[in-house]
Amino acid sequence: MKEVFELLQFFIAQPWPWYVAGPLIAVVMFILLYFGHEFGISENFRIMCAADGADNVNEFFKIDWRKGEWNLLVALGAVFGGYLASHYFIGSEGNVAHVSDATLGALSNIGIDTSKGTVPLVPDFISWEALLNWKGWFMIAGGGLMVGFGARYAGGCTSGHAISGLSALQLPSLIAVVGFFSGGLFVTYVVIPLLFPL
């Protein structure tokens, strides 16, 4: 029995290829639909605002946050899942992002070392230490601010639009995804080179 568990653990701990991860994300969406809910993680920011008293300030947050309890629990589960996967199912090479050689080259050109971060999969410039300078605040806090604002303005994030919306063949979600990519390409090709000058 112990051997079976160890074999299973070893199997799960390997990096998951895209063709396993993608369909499983669709299964997550289906399970939530089956439970009577629509997959959308960024809605939690609104629920948390409402639970923290924003409902007294603005009508957009006058929602019964208890009705979003299921979604908060999905987010909490994601925290647990991240903990378990990163601590008990470490791949044979450790928790590293197996990015392509082209990406490794592009990153090293601008002085980014993928092995430098203290938390696996997270670069060293996304850390508490990075908050000692403005660049860290810009990337972490500024990034969070834009994600929170943009997701609610667009009515959804990657889970709500790119996965749920496109699966339901919603044209608005396709427009949102075009937006996601316009913003992402702008930052990748214009802003990041400015943040990491040669």
Partner: protein
């Protein structure tokens, strides 16, 4: 407790996204530089599987756990909010290297600095709430 099933679904999501490295800043950077098929494979195969699931739900009239037919609400048919909001979102995504789900997953993996991201994401959502009536939708 009945609600614990949502925690399990969230854990599954966390596992999938962590083990497929979709939570990594490096993978997002790679995606936006079109240097690997990996992220496109994840999103693309999720959408193809999702389309099949949604079509099966509609054609077979699959019912949810409460016995009601599963309904998927149509999104509001406008343009500005998706284009502008989406672009702002995409900028934040590429900067921090994480969208909302990966942020929660990374918090669990020990990247506690994402608490700062979370607080600012809530602030961003709050700012949207304040400006909502003045923004084009």
């Amino acid at each position: 407790m009945r609600m614990s099933r949502y925690i399990i679904v969230g854990m599954l999501l966390g596992f999938i996204m962590y083990k497929s490295e979709a939570v990594s800043w490096f993978r997002i950077y790679e995606m936006f530089r079109f240097q690997s098929f990996h992220m496109y494979g994840i999103i693309g195969s999720a959408v193809i599987a999702g389309i099949i699931i949604v079509q099966l739900i509609k054609r077979k009239g699959i019912r949810n756990v409460k016995g009601k037919e599963i309904e998927i609400k149509d999104k509001q048919k406008t343009t500005y909010r998706y284009l502008i909001g989406g672009t702002v979102f995409g900028m934040g995504w590429a900067l921090a290297g994480a969208c909302p789900a990966p942020m929660f997953i990374l918090l669990g993996s020990g990247a506690t600095v994402f608490f700062v991201y979370l607080v600012f994401a809530m602030t961003g959502t709050f700012i949207y709430g304040l400006l909502r009536n003045k923004l084009p939708h």
